[in-house]
Symmetry: C2
Subunit: 364 residues, 2 copies
Amino acid sequence: MVTVRVKLKSSAPPRYDIQIGHGLLLRLGSLVKSVAPSPACGIISDQTVAPFYLAAAVDSLRQTGFRVTSYVFRAGESSKNLSTSSAAIDAFLTARLERSSPVIALGGGVVGDLAGFVSAVLLRGLPLIQVPTSLLAMVDSSVGGKVGVDHAMGKNLIGAFHQPRLVITDVAVLRTLPDVELRCGLAECIKHGIIKDRTLFDFIAANLEKIHQRAPDVLSRLVARNVRIKAAIVMQDPFENGPRALLNLGHTFGHALEAVAGYTGLRHGEAVALGIIAASRLGLKRKLIAVAQVQKIQSLIAAVGLPVCLSSLDVDAAFSAMHSDKKVHNAWLRFILPTTIGKARIVSGIPESQIKDALESLTL
Amino acid sequence: MVTVRVKLKSSAPPRYDIQIGHGLLLRLGSLVKSVAPSPACGIISDQTVAPFYLAAAVDSLRQTGFRVTSYVFRAGESSKNLSTSSAAIDAFLTARLERSSPVIALGGGVVGDLAGFVSAVLLRGLPLIQVPTSLLAMVDSSVGGKVGVDHAMGKNLIGAFHQPRLVITDVAVLRTLPDVELRCGLAECIKHGIIKDRTLFDFIAANLEKIHQRAPDVLSRLVARNVRIKAAIVMQDPFENGPRALLNLGHTFGHALEAVAGYTGLRHGEAVALGIIAASRLGLKRKLIAVAQVQKIQSLIAAVGLPVCLSSLDVDAAFSAMHSDKKVHNAWLRFILPTTIGKARIVSGIPESQIKDALESLTL
């Protein structure tokens, strides 16, 4: 037997900037051109965001010389699938995008995940520019390079790691974000506070009213602090082999709740909020966290206006849905459990009964 | 404006072995287990290869403790699309493959490309094991990490760079490879000889009869020498930014010929053979290569039994098809042209008329 060993050269690790400010959307063309010069670009947006911001984005890009092709799809998680991706790919290939052509994600988390997946696989990878328009996308999904689409068997089961070339975060667009979506973004902010940053947790609690009023300076500080946490964790662990798992606090429970709700009954942020509560109670059960800390977590989630309980839940179905989540490791579920506000750890080997009890507690 | 810079840690560059020998398929289970231990694995094969080798592969994997799920599709380039990928993904998710579960590509180039794409995007990336069963897949497509599927607008327009964890090349399986497929593999071997290795070119010319008789020692030497060339180029340039472009000798013409033939009239190896002839003649026209060298190239291609001309060709359609190829660079086509047997270079800025003349010459 002959063995030929292939050892690839180490490529330069990706680096990119996240720019956070007011009115950046009006400078979109020059910002994109500075990192991804090309004769052409593609924009992906959805029918909720496009009426507000697509025309301005296209204008700015055209003024800097880009030939622009837009693909707009029906808003919502139910569009985040291979079939929508395929339609966007059709549009961009017809428009003759090239390997240098950036794909711009203009929208919330669903748009970013889907546009990210399209940019990852089209022509084996095009530069991705994230322009998040929801709080959730700004503080979470636009940073870190996880892109993908859903499958009937679960969320984000098809995807890639594809880092953006640039993230352009214009907090001015939060002005048009519906309250319910603002609250969903706050679920991820609270998550960041719980796993890494007690000061952030307290900042959210102290500024709830200003956040809901969309006070620009408070929003900028909120977004920047969250982005720094997310970026620091991603930098340590780009492929989710270690510490990045902390970001899944509330998500193993949350994804299961979304799955049994069929992706329509419950928003992602709402599911994460409930998931954080379930994880906190599981931590309490296992004596990892004090009851006062769990109460503080529940109080802030309630104060934000996020759900803290469900009217009913098929616990067995939710438990079963957890096992199709892609983070299943050697057939054992791993959970992120808070140990205090500002710290969390990875725990596996938890008995089925305790997991089901935590799910059950959400209906009380 | 606040800027947060994300700089990812450099991850260890991928390395993997290509094992070449006789009878390796019988040891498949232990070879796979040594690089990708997991409770489960998936195999993708096609209806041509599966009747010969699938049962043996599954047996070997089961004996080493893998739970095995197979997905077999209708053979041929026309199956290499998103829809087949999606069906394979359905099968593997239903079988609850996990992030550690290897996906094994058992077949020729189409199987390897499609299984590679599935492994690249399923759960954001599973370990890929290439088990090439055609000469073309052994010497070319199984090495290098380019995976993908076709789109109505062109070949391999959707894909990724996803390096295999291991390549298991059992030359014993070439026994059942149809002659026409053996010839197609030889087109890529001749290409390697022209761009990098005059000795290989001469070895093929001197051993044509033994190759056609499937003499085991000659086939092993042939495969190993080709794999070393391909591996050396891939190691230098994993993402096809520089020297790897040399491997495209004959491919810009070839893909266009395949596209106008609708992916069914012409095999890839046949199209590459014709593409090498067109590129050689274009090199001659531009005084880059001597006429005697071009004649030697044409003679070997003819001696192998590969086509050296077409009965008819829509030159305008073929020229147009070149522009939807993903290698279009700033709207300019780049060609790999041989300068002698053993060396080639990248040339761009060639006038349309010369490109069309080279295409036209194939019908003479």
